[in-house]
């Protein structure tokens, strides 16, 4: 029996997250190519329901561990949990999302299992002859794409960037096995303790769920300009319109870090991305490059953003954005 693929699943409100559904898609493809089985690890309080969901999404076996969720726990505890799971289930490949959990645990799991990690990948494939795992990932901020090959002699641990794969579609007829594992022993002398988890109150739709995103860069010049962007997002997108930003407005404190798009922020793929006062640095573009339509509004005709956009207007956003808002309003009203 060939060693299988293990997806480290994440849940929110007892349901498999969108990112995990993408991992299950990637994992199913890998398992089919390798002629092996796909397993998923589901943790949290009462993981049964999410385990059943993971089977409909492509898992052959689901291991459940009744344990605190990742945000209620410590990276150390989750690293122990994953090491234990891999010891018991001996996968060939473990797939994480490039999420808080994946970023913390994937490197530690690799280090403690004598394995090799590859982070923030956008594609994974099996070389069917050598059985090496081929991992594609953007490097140099997105200025180059690298393919790394990791041989089957060690455990391969990979973290997949959200939105790199389509989400697996549920198939209620799929059959699978659910195996409960005991949680790891709690650490007698913990090295860290979680004191507090604070979640920001997000008003309206999250940027990753919005269909239309109006995004501002350093060219906006301050917090006030973002009001014009909000108006455009509301008129163009209604309840599924959102405002986002590049890193500069976040670092400057004009807007919250929670709405940053890019390598150090969120990766989004809306139907329409309107980039206002954004120069188009690669580190930003990796966060929005797969949007269906990209519009650029910038004063500088040589701004790189125009090479990444479908439509461009050269001009002052203070005039262009309200004009666009008005024009869309009249088209929608017609």
């Amino acid at each position: 029996m060939t060693k299988g693929i293990l997806v480290c699943a994440e849940t929110a409100d007892g349901k498999i997250t969108a990112t995990t559904r993408e991992l299950l898609h990637a994992g199913r493809d890998l398992a089919d190519a390798a002629g092996s089985a796909l397993a998923a690890l589901v943790t949290g309080k009462n993981p049964q329901e999410a385990a059943a969901e993971a089977i409909t999404l492509g898992a052959d076996t689901v291991y459940t561990v009744d344990a605190p969720s990742f945000v209620e726990s410590t990276p150390d505890y989750y690293a122990s949990l994953l090491v234990m799971t891999c010891r018991k289930t001996e996968p060939a490949v473990v797939i994480f999302g490039q999420t808080d959990l994946g970023r913390d645990v994937a490197p530690l799991l690799a280090a403690r299992s004598g394995g090799v990690a590859c982070m923030d990948c956008v594609r994974v494939a099996i070389d069917t002859q050598t059985r090496a795992l081929l991992q594609t990932r953007p490097v140099y901020g997105g200025n180059a794409m690298a393919v790394w090959s990791s041989g089957e002699e060690v455990l391969r641990v990979v973290a997949l960037r959200p939105r790199s794969y389509a989400a697996a579609e549920p198939d209620a007829t799929r059959q699978g096995e659910i195996v409960a594992l005991d949680p790891p022993d709690s650490d007698e002398s913990p090295r860290m303790e979680l004191l507090e988890t604070r979640k920001e109150d997000i008003q309206g739709v999250k940027i990753e769920d919005a269909r239309i995103v109006v995004s501002g860069g350093g060219g906006i010049g301050g917090p006030d300009g973002f009001k014009l962007l909000e108006e455009l997002a509301r008129v163009a997108g209604g309840a599924s319109g959102a405002v986002a930003a590049t890193r500069v407005p976040c670092d400057e404190g004009w807007v919250s870090h929670g709405i940053e798009v890019g390598q150090t922020g969120t990766i989004i793929t809306p139907d329409l991305y309107i980039a206002v006062g954004i120069s188009g640095a690669v580190q930003h573009m990796v966060g929005c490059a797969d949007s269906k339509v990209i519009v650029a509004i910038n004063r500088d005709p040589d701004a790189h953003i125009f090479q990444e956009a479908d439509f461009g207007i050269v001009g002052d956003y203070r005039q262009a954005v309200p004009a666009l808002t008005g024009a869309i309003k009249s088209i929608k009203g017609a």
Partner: protein, 267 residues
């Protein structure tokens, strides 16, 4: 408190994309001529964190950099910002090391530096963008790691690390010694002072090789790397921009709205 900061000199990540050239055959980035390397911006924020901690709690900051001759420049830059000491790690045998090997080399160097309370790294290097070295170094040293740390403070003798998570943040009480990878949400970096630059330039930076720090030769270099780079290519540019230029911005906006309407984007 004794703080070790790991720093790396890289190609300026803010270079315009047109300056980046990929040699797919050699699987290398061709650095543009005449443009100096810079300290990885996330590492610079780790130095800033160290300086702030030292200002509050006292202690000593040691900067460590692994690389070719440029490693000395990274250390000097850290000194010019206010680090107290520094060491460069250079050896031909280090060439081709993967993240595990780099963690091993840094770990050996840190053991030689001596007692430490905190090790700080940037959240990732803005060249390979992987974020592996910090956590792997913590494992090598056998100390806990907290990633994407934005603030570290001493509250009644307890060390609290505040780190950024998706849509919020977490606060951990951490027993030192520990490692933190510093996120871009941490305070921005100060600029070096004139005096800082002068005194950093006067300092002789020790350069340690593998033998100096007793690395395990079977764990370093390209021979030890399990993961191999098999391709490096320039990304595809997928779009052709339709520039909408009219007499007035208002007219252009009207045309754009119509064109977007045709794509069905906001209907």
């Amino acid at each position: 408190m004794n703080i070790v900061v790991c720093v790396k000199q890289i190609l300026d990540p803010n270079l315009p994309p047109a300056k980046f050239k990929v040699d797919s055959k050699a699987r290398q980035i061709i650095p543009p001529e005449g443009i100096p390397l810079v300290m990885n911006p996330y590492d610079a924020q780790a130095v800033e964190m160290a300086l702030r901690l030292k200002e509050k709690n006292g202690g000593k900051i040691t900067a460590v950099s692994l690389g070719g001759p440029e490693a000395v420049s990274a250390v000097k830059y850290a000194l010019s910002l206010g680090a107290d000491e520094g060491v460069a790690l250079s050896d031909e045998a280090f060439f081709g090391s993967d993240s595990l090997a780099v963690a091993h080399i840094l770990g050996r160097a840190i053991r030689k530096i001596g007692a430490y309370d905190l090790v700080l790294c940037g959240r990732q290097a803005a060249d390979w963008d992987e974020g592996l070295t910090g956590p792997l170094l913590a494992e090598e040293l056998g100390i806990p790691v907290v990633n994407l740390v934005r603030d570290i403070e001493n509250v009644g003798g307890d060390w609290r690390f505040t780190r950024v998570i998706s849509g919020g943040e977490q606060v951990f009480a951490v027993f030192l010694p520990a490692l933190a990878t510093i996120t871009n949400e941490a305070p921005q970096t100060r600029l070096p002072t004139g005096w800082g630059i002068i005194s950093a330039n006067r300092k002789q930076i020790p350069v340690w090789n593998g033998g100096d720090i007793d690395v395990d030769p079977t764990r370093i270099g390209s021979a030890a790397a399990v993961r191999k780079l098999t391709a490096l290519t320039a990304p595809e540019r997928k779009r052709n921009c339709e520039m909408i230029s009219k007499e007035t911005v208002a007219e252009a906006a009207g045309t754009l709205a119509r064109r977007l309407g045709e794509t069905g984007a906001f209907l």
